[in-house]
Symmetry: C2
Subunit: 227 residues, 2 copies
């Protein structure tokens, strides 16, 4: 819980976006938000800019901030990158992890086992995060961990949905098991491969299909500013 107004606002608005309180495509009026949270427009503006940097909203000059809509195409691209980064983290973890890292992974894995066995989706969702963070940490790459966490955060709502809707708990846990084995065996390639397919559930075919599909239809739904 940050004592800073801006941080609080940022989390609040982000939460609103994630929970669907602020619908994609809707305008976020600075004055309205300022009134809503009982603060001035200045911290609201700063919070919106931070959210813009995180990719949650898009700020068009003189035209206000709108909640970005993540289409299926873009969503797949994000999962694709996530898979690659997680794969790298796993590969590095397999090569570099210390005994303490192994222990942390083992504990997180055991927790996942419990939640999966009881079918507690919410608990598993949390434990799953802990598990993946343990792998990030074991990669001993601070920067990579940061990147992974940022993307993870951005994909959080969709990930949650994924787990809920498709009831992937058992298969997810089974995949974790293989990943843990591969890391403990020090097999970087196998770890990377398993983690990639763990994230991107569908095969490469699907990604290619959508990519070429977009190639033909064109007219990207949102022109994202590179900044």
């Amino acid at each position: 819980m940050p004592v800073n107004t801006v941080q609080t606002l940022r989390d609040e608005i982000e939460n609103g976006i994630v929970t669907g309180d602020f619908k994609p495509g809707s305008r976020l009026d600075e004055t309205q938000l300022a009134n809503r949270y009982g603060v001035s427009r200045t911290p609201v503006r700063e919070a919106l800019m931070q959210l813009s940097a995180s990719g949650f909203v898009e700020i068009r000059p003189r035209r206000g901030a709108i909640v970005v809509e993540i289409g299926p195409q873009r969503l797949y691209e994000m999962f694709e990158v996530m898979a690659e980064l997680e794969g790298l983290a796993g590969a590095l973890a397999a090569r570099r992890c210390s005994e303490a890292d192994r222990e942390a992974i083992r504990i997180a894995h055991t927790q996942c086992a419990k939640s999966a066995a009881n079918g507690e989706t919410d608990a598993y969702y949390y434990d799953n995060e802990v598990f993946h963070r343990a792998i990030y940490k074991a990669s001993h790459s601070q920067f990579l961990a940061e990147q992974c966490l940022a993307l993870h955060r951005r994909l959080r709502p969709f990930r949650r949905l994924q787990l809920r809707v498709r009831n992937r708990l058992p298969s997810s846990y089974a995949e974790h098991d293989g990943i843990v084995q591969a890391i403990f065996d020090g097999d970087a390639d196998r770890t990377s491969s398993l983690l990639r397919s763990h994230i991107v559930v569908q095969g490469d075919r699907f990604s290619d299909l959508i990519a070429t599909l977009k190639l033909h239809t064109e007219t990207p739904p949102q022109e994202k500013r590179i900044s």
Copy 2:
């Protein structure tokens, strides 16, 4: 050339950081910057926040912004991630690139050839960027392209240094040649592999060495906020 004050300020300060005008570790006083650029403190603050999001500065609550110092450890981590992302972009490009993409890559490659032959480091530096961007585009992953560009931007000063100091022009161009071949052959794995080693010049050994070295020495120089 953005008409926005904040954007201009952001670029200006970022440039100052890149060129060493603002030294790593030094404080960036809001009032000083405001006076220096003849604007108010408000846009300066917003620019600093954007730079914080990009990882150029670190803002500590109530204690101002300081230029982040990128140590060798972190630098290597960033190159490592960059290599992985470029590898992914290349792999996707090999599978998905259209005729227009191939043409763009060919043209950029030819430009690199000219600059390399003439030994024009600055020109090659620019052409190299165009070349890599062509690959990003050919990956047909907007999100991946954005990530690559952001990291590229962050690593820009170091990359330039790398090219200058080590006189890597000929070998860099030779590597490009292999990459282009692999993409045109549609060989995703080979493209990915070549691009990875193109970015991370040193082998994996070095990364492991530094990682374990950090493991022993500990005391991370800067505690980066994940945000």
